[in-house]
């Protein structure tokens, strides 16, 4: 975390209670491995738990509040190496779980946009912190310069290994470069952050296609380990007739062309099939290519689209229409060119896994809509490179060991979408890092890091109750004609510094844990009196979840059953009112962070 060597000072001594105490030199800080502490961090910092990379979100938002943008940026970099990029195009799994977004608490903090603000406002001469390990003399080849590959390469070089990236395309970045349109992600931002990775001595070989230009076997022999991170580049096919007609594109290829500066024919009337971010990118690019009417055809309803509301709004704002509850039966064409689509109506039915809905076609409900071009963006799968056949696979995906990234071939690792299947950028980066740690263990022969919960008592939160009523700051965007006039114009302009400061105030700082010490509590309910919601409870019992977090709090209004007045940290919005009023000072505030400590030999 902060700086690794600091922890080297405090050798970890194990105690009865799965807790380890820091030496006096540091203020009362505890490193715990007690499941209840992990449970607490998991359950009561929902955003961080939802982030595949476990970014320390409260941490960096706090820094933004304190106008320490550089620090905020670094906290991000610890978890994902492309904060500026993700600040723009992350799929924001965190915001879905932000406590501020809970019923009656308003809208989630716009975590993602703040991430971008950190990148935007850090000083230009910003100093990057890397806790580097001394060189190990080991060499690792990484195949693919996409998010996963970059993530792996970076972590490997931090751990002291020599990383060499082999990239088939001309430019690094993978989907970031060729999948996402530049009106959402300016290329200079992308390149800058890739630069930051390469500076650690990562070697990048672009235009080299493993399998044709160099064989996997030679890599395996030349390097101590090889990481495959080739992602998902093979578009899924509809499997419906007419898919090969002219002016029928796959989302991936369409975006590739667009991002290469080409202008594929779209015509006036564009039909996009698919409901993901790629589909949206295609539709929005089509608008910029001069399409008059763009329809996004989805099998379920808007509610179940895997994209966030802001994206939905932008899409609609660009006059694109969602056409829901339809399933493509076939694509119709004349003289080899597409002319329309025959759809089937669908209806929603319950399905046992999230989001618990299936779209089921309704019999003989066919109808036809005209189209000048059709873009099919219904996901991708790994490209079956030369490895296919040599290695155990799971469908098109490369099979990796349970809880790990090693493959059936020793020294060969696989990570990112080529192993997990199509996911999102943040997941890929996270997996890249995790994979690197696996590789490290493989190369060094032992784990060099463990996870612990760092507990530090704090005495004030300097949050103001009024902050809780600040409304979510909307993103500044271009208006319509600016968007179409020049297709590379970035649509989102980001927050200005004062907007960022305002938005950062909204974060509850869920990483602070509030606790009442029953041995000192006199049950005077002063805290309950000032509680902003049902976050402080008179309870007779509390249950425990398997993951170590507390489950149900059994409340009671019977004085003779009240065994404790407890703060439910999953309801608590950290307003600090209780802490202020407690006459017995029996409420404590503890900063809880899930961190990596490195283990000495």
């Amino acid at each position: 975390m902060k700086n690794t060597d600091r922890y080297k000072k405090n050798l970890i001594v194990s105690t009865g209670k799965n807790k380890t105490y820091a030496s006096e030199s540091v203020k009362s800080i505890i490193y715990s491995t007690d499941p209840r502490d992990f449970g607490q961090v998991k359950k009561s910092i929902p955003c961080q738990d939802a982030c595949p990379a476990h970014t320390n979100i409260p941490g960096y938002i706090r820094c933004i509040h304190e106008k320490r943008f550089g620090r905020a940026y670094e906290l991000n970099r610890l978890a994902n190496i492309l904060p500026g990029v993700l600040g723009r195009i992350c799929s924001r799994p965190c915001e879905l779980y932000c406590r501020h977004g809970e019923p009656d608490l308003g809208k989630p903090v716009s975590i993602c946009s703040l991430k971008r603000s950190a990148a935007d406002f850090k000083s230009p001469m910003h100093r990057i912190l890397e806790g580097l390990y001394s060189p190990s003399g080991k060499k690792v080849a990484v195949i693919g310069a996409g998010p996963a590959g970059l993530g792996a390469a970076h972590e490997l070089s931090v751990l002291g290994h020599k990383a060499v990236i082999y990239e088939a395309f001309e430019k690094p970045g993978g989907m970031l470069m060729y999948g996402i349109p530049d009106f959402r992600l300016p290329r200079n931002v992308l390149m800058l952050e890739i630069e930051n990775i390469l500076r650690l001595g990562v070697e990048l070989k672009t235009g080299v296609k493993v399998g044709t230009d160099v064989s996997l076997d030679s890599l395996l022999s030349d390097y101590d380990a090889v990481v495959i991170a080739t992602g998902c580049t093979m578009p899924n096919r509809l499997g419906a007739p007419g898919e090969d007609l002219e002016h029928v594109y796959s989302g991936v290829r369409f975006m590739e062309q667009v991002n290469n500066g080409e202008t594929p024919y779209v015509g006036k009337n564009v039909m996009v099939i698919g409901d993901g971010f790629t589909a949206m990118d295609c539709a929005r690019s089509a608008v910029r290519l001069g399409a008059a009417e763009v329809k996004v055809n989805i099998r379920k309803t808007e509610e179940y689209m895997p994209i966030d509301d802001q994206e939905k709004h932008e899409v609609k704002f660009e006059k694109i229409r969602f056409y829901s509850l339809v399933d493509t039966k076939r694509i119709i064409g004349e003289k080899g060119k597409v002319t329309g689509i025959e759809f089937l109506r669908t209806k929603l039915e319950y399905s046992p896994n999230p989001p618990y809905r299936n779209a089921v076609p309704i019999e003989n409900s066919e109808f036809i809509l005209p189209a000048d071009s059709v873009i099919v963006a219904i996901g991708q799968q790994p490209f079956p490179g030369e490895i296919s056949g040599k290695i155990e696979q799971n469908g098109a995906r490369i099979l990796t060991r349970e809880s790990g990234f090693s493959t059936s071939i020793t020294g060969l690792f696989a990570t990112g979408d080529c192993a997990s299947g199509a996911s999102n950028v943040i997941t890929a980066i996270a997996n890249g890092r995790k994979c690197a740690v696996d590789v490290d263990e493989f190369l060094i022969g032992r784990k060099r890091k463990i996870h612990v919960v760092r507990l530090e008592s704090v005495d004030n939160t300097d949050r103001d109750r009024a902050y809780d009523f600040i409304k979510r700051t909307p993103m500044n965007t271009l208006d319509f004609d600016q968007r179409v006039s020049q297709r590379s114009n970035e649509v989102e302009k980001g927050y200005n510094e004062e907007q960022a400061a305002q938005e950062s105030k909204r974060c509850y700082l869920c990483s602070l844990k509030y606790e009442i010490d029953t041995t000192a509590c006199i049950y005077c309910s002063a805290c309950i009196d000032v509680a902003p919601r049902d976050c402080i409870k008179m309870i007779q019992d509390v249950s425990m979840n398997p993951d170590g977090s507390f489950g149900h709090y059994t409340e009671t209004r019977n004085w003779n059953n009240v065994s404790a007045i407890a703060i439910d940290n999953e309801r608590c919005i950290r307003c600090g009112q209780c802490y202020e009023v407690c006459p017995m000072d029996c409420i404590s505030v503890t900063k809880t962070e899930r961190i990596e400590l490195n283990i000495e030999e």
Binding site: T518, I522, C524, Q540, V542, W559, S563, S588, T590
Partner: protein
Amino acid sequence: MITPGSQYLDEQINTVKENGFLRYRTGELPTWCPGCGYFGITDAILKACLELNLKNEEICAISGIGCAGRYPVFMNVYGFHTLHGRSIPVASGVKLAREDLTVFAVAGDGDALGIGGGHLPHIARKNIDITLFLFDNSIYGLTKGQSSATTLFGQATSSHPGGNPDTPLNPIKLALAYGASFVARGFAGDPEGLKHLAKEAITHKGFSFLHITTPCVTFDKFNFTWKNLKENHSYIDQSIHNVTDMESAMRIAEHERFKLGVFYKDSNRLSYHENLRNIASKKA
């Protein structure tokens, strides 16, 4: 303030349950203002009863009018909420009728030192074996903050906005002067210490006077606040003070307003009942 590393919630709950003082509570949630010191006192008394292992049914708690008057509602014993200032005589009556019971008289400062002040000397000199818990928040809470007998001189109250012209009583000195055979002071903010004093008071044979200082969080925001009381209170150094030494007790009571602990204790003095019996036996 606890440091991270003290008990986890589930462990705390188990401790409380095993401990068992909850049995001295009724199901009624106290209606005192949130944050009231009376909660601390209640907590201490409950725990004292527990550690003395008293049977609930053998305790009587008699109170007067005022915030303290509500106390018996929340304690799972034979409670009696009587008239303003009249808790002492009623309690005395109970005790005289049933020596086998443990009797608490609960009174606020207005109750015991104001309107009922006239009763105090007499129960003290009779040395009837009850325990008076004097909940002293130095204000009239229920009538919205007028000066009481222990309100500081010059303190602004709703009856003396310009400052209280009356010098406050010194309850300890009074009790000593009235000849109470057990005189102690506890503090609502230290339930643990108060518990020990309560135990001693209850077990003492004869009239026990336990003065308990507590803030009124609603009507005294400046003087006897949690903060001030905590800062000023300290325990009598028992190594230099002998509890049978009346002069020393008086001296401390006189000069050190915020001393806590047992001031005076005369274990040899006979209780009213014993005197009655002796007189009776002499006649015989």
